[in-house]
Symmetry: D2
Subunit: 267 residues, 4 copies
């Protein structure tokens, strides 16, 4: 699925340098880079990485205590969830809806404003594939470095053009298929969108507060060239996986942000 | 993005036979196949399709009343939402989460059980791209035909192998990357999954009732070879797009179904 | 529970003039005033009111078709739900929280602004009892009449002082225990509250849009004498009552309004 | 409102022994019993209780640092939230709906099963008033003592008959108006309800898991004498009170339990 040697590409047998998930139980699940000489430790026992090498993915390995652990191929979320994060508000529940609403897929060329640590960037890069590209703008140099490391870990860096710059004015690309804005003032980026996107392309802005939503839709409605405006919010509930006592987890994330969708047309 | 002549591929200029969206306002937005001699009618006026041909996507066209309409490239959801549906419970909010949780992308080979009219199938086909494939099983012959027409309309049919058969026992594929089950009794399909999926691959079952969730997780927990079980439910709120009076739409879909995620390992 | 002959007071045996609920099944449940000579009709058969008189509450009565119906004492909600409504946004889910947050009870004297058809008024009147009082202000004379009829039907009219007037300036009461504001511009009523309420008393304003919430909390925070400001929103899900297929009803009311709670202190 | 000297009765001037709320800001709000010689301490300064005595409710008092604090009459929730709790799942959002659905009010005689620390009991006692009564059954002697102390603190003890006993078989009361069941197996209490409640009276059972809901509604539907069965769930969102950045609090309680409502009729 990925051309790179890194990341979440499937391998049938564990090799030195691979990323794998060691799964003991739901509370003990960890992403590990396999390195000869290293030891995987847990409160249920340890195992030498040397013993992992050559194991078939999906097989069990025996811990020092006699307990077993499964060796799994990492899913994209396993790797992305391991990112060192400085900030983070967009969640999988939101990203999934963004992908579906904009209809991006293999080959799509997309614009992203506000890279942060590359969380959304990674999901977009996974979807656009080797034929597509994510043009990702970020103002703060330190985030560019973090995002680079994170994307590298996921094996997705080759699909992303990370740019230190201001999405409100510095974008030079043309004919992109969609835009994703995770910046505090997307209303200041409206002017550049028609120059960058193919006519009629979709945009989604992610905004934590209702004040920002009001400001953005007010600007969109009073400016020519923006239509099909919609505002969404997703909520996710996760359940305790107990067939004798099924119930939602009592305390959970109930708010990340609002999504404003719109399309850019000619004025 | 698509190799086919059909579907949601972007074209800069409207040609005979294209699918376009005619957008007058949020209440008047329609998917149209451009045919010489046809007329697009609305309560805001009509326009001859002949006048649409040659128009640049994103441009306005003048209706008979003097009012204007935008001509848009259809997004994937525009086409899929136009499907003739017989049944439908999975919504974009759910499909987005399924895509993100399983981490499928370009090149993925996936199994789908319960095609129905091809709604979920289309989103999966969009994500796996021309290098990937959706192996889609359906018991009822009449649905196969409907799904075929729908996928053809979206230009995605070449990425889908539609099979008349029982996913509980008839699957012959090997080494698939993920499975999506939209059947009433996924517990009866557990036996076949380890033979079909690469070890450690993810599965998502979509279930409308809590009784089904209880039955499935009970079976998963008592059967060897299924781990990392999680249960989710998404809720979507859409807001009235009025910057002077922002509020959620009062009446909305509040329940579609629950999603049970798990991974298949060796016994 | 009520001093009046009307309303939702419990009676063990049905008499001429009583309000009762005729319950055939969940879809056939109706509030009826028992009048000699009248007939209760349904698609499951009819019964003469004369046959209801003398029946014990909770007993069955035989319909013309041989099917049975239960004769129930109406609960407060049965009567209130039968009100002829012109407008209505506050729902039981909201009213319950308002009652709990303000802590009103028997003997409370409360202010209500924006009576409408008396929906909230009735619930408040039920809680304050014969020792308490609801001072209810309404600007539109026609609503006063509707509310009067509705409160009379519930047997709660004696606990309510309906006033044709502007809650923003016309309130003459003193030493009230709590205020409930269901008006579009509660920020214009802030000036009168300290004169009307006992110091440190609670207020709840009900507001359909986020713009109103922003405006009210902005005014509250910039004006002396208002503290302990909190903003809430409730959501209700109702489930299909099927033990074999338990699931939330798919389409439901997802938004009524926001509640802003605060307390009035000395400046 | 209350006959007792204790609890949440309103007093205009602070006296020795009163319960008051000292409010500095939203994060510093505390219920305090005023005792000569005691000191109220906070990270914003202290104040001697002697200085509180004689202060008018709603007035400010000066802390040692020069900062001010308001002295408030406690609302019922202020006192109840201060209860020493051992267990607790029912929340105000649920209790409010229970009160509205059952229509209880001043003078109501109600049954409660599963007292715990008296949280729900206190809200019920507030609503039924001095003319009403809560008959509250609890199996564990230690909870009876805790509930007694808590109800005493709220000034509501005289309205509650606390009974050490099993609601499934020990109830001796007759002609009650409503029942509230917070026990793990309400299906075992169904037999006693028709003997205890007035015919056609409402019952609400509170249940944390869907398995319990399924079991209860299954029993209710297969047993004669129980009708008008409904299942509800409430969700509460609280917003950050910032007029420049209004948004729901990100992490919150998303699940407490389900409520099953029904009415008891003659068999």
């Amino acid at each position: 699925m990925l051309s790179s040697e890194e990341g979440h590409q499937y391998r049938a047998v564990v090799k030195e340098g691979d990323l794998v998930v060691i799964y003991i139980d739901d509370k003990r699940k960890k992403l590990v880079r396999v390195r000869r000489g290293d030891i995987f430790n847990s409160d249920k026992g340890y195992v030498r990485h040397d013993e992992l090498i050559g194991i078939e993915i999906g097989d069990k390995v025996r811990l020092s205590t006699g307990k077993y652990a499964y060796v799994l191929n990492p899913l994209l979320t396993d790797i992305i969830d391991s990112y060192k994060r400085v900030t983070q508000v967009i969640y999988p529940k939101d990203i999934g809806l963004m992908i579906v609403l904009t209809g991006i897929g293999p080959g799509s060329k997309v614009l992203e404003g506000g890279v942060g640590t590359g969380y959304l960037t990674s999901f977009l890069a996974n979807i656009v594939g080797d034929e597509g590209k994510v043009y990702a703008y970020e103002l703060r140099r330190e985030f560019i470095e973090v995002a680079k490391r994170n994307l590298s870990k996921s094996g997705l860096l080759s699909r992303v053009i990370l740019k230190l710059g201001d999405i409100r004015k510095d974008v030079t690309e043309k004919n992109l298929d969609a835009a994703f804005l995770d910046i505090p003032d997307p209303w200041n980026a409206l002017g550049i969108l028609p120059k960058v996107l193919k006519p009629s392309s979709p945009v989604v802005a992610f905004l934590p507060t209702v004040n920002q939503v009001i400001k953005l839709i007010s600007k969109l409605k009073s400016t020519r060239g923006f239509i099909d405006i919609r505002v969404f919010e997703t909520q996710l509930r996760e359940y305790n996986v107990d067939p004798e006592a099924l119930r939602p987890k009592p305390i959970y994330v109930v708010h990340t942000g609002y999504m404003v969708f719109f399309r850019v047309v000619k004025k």
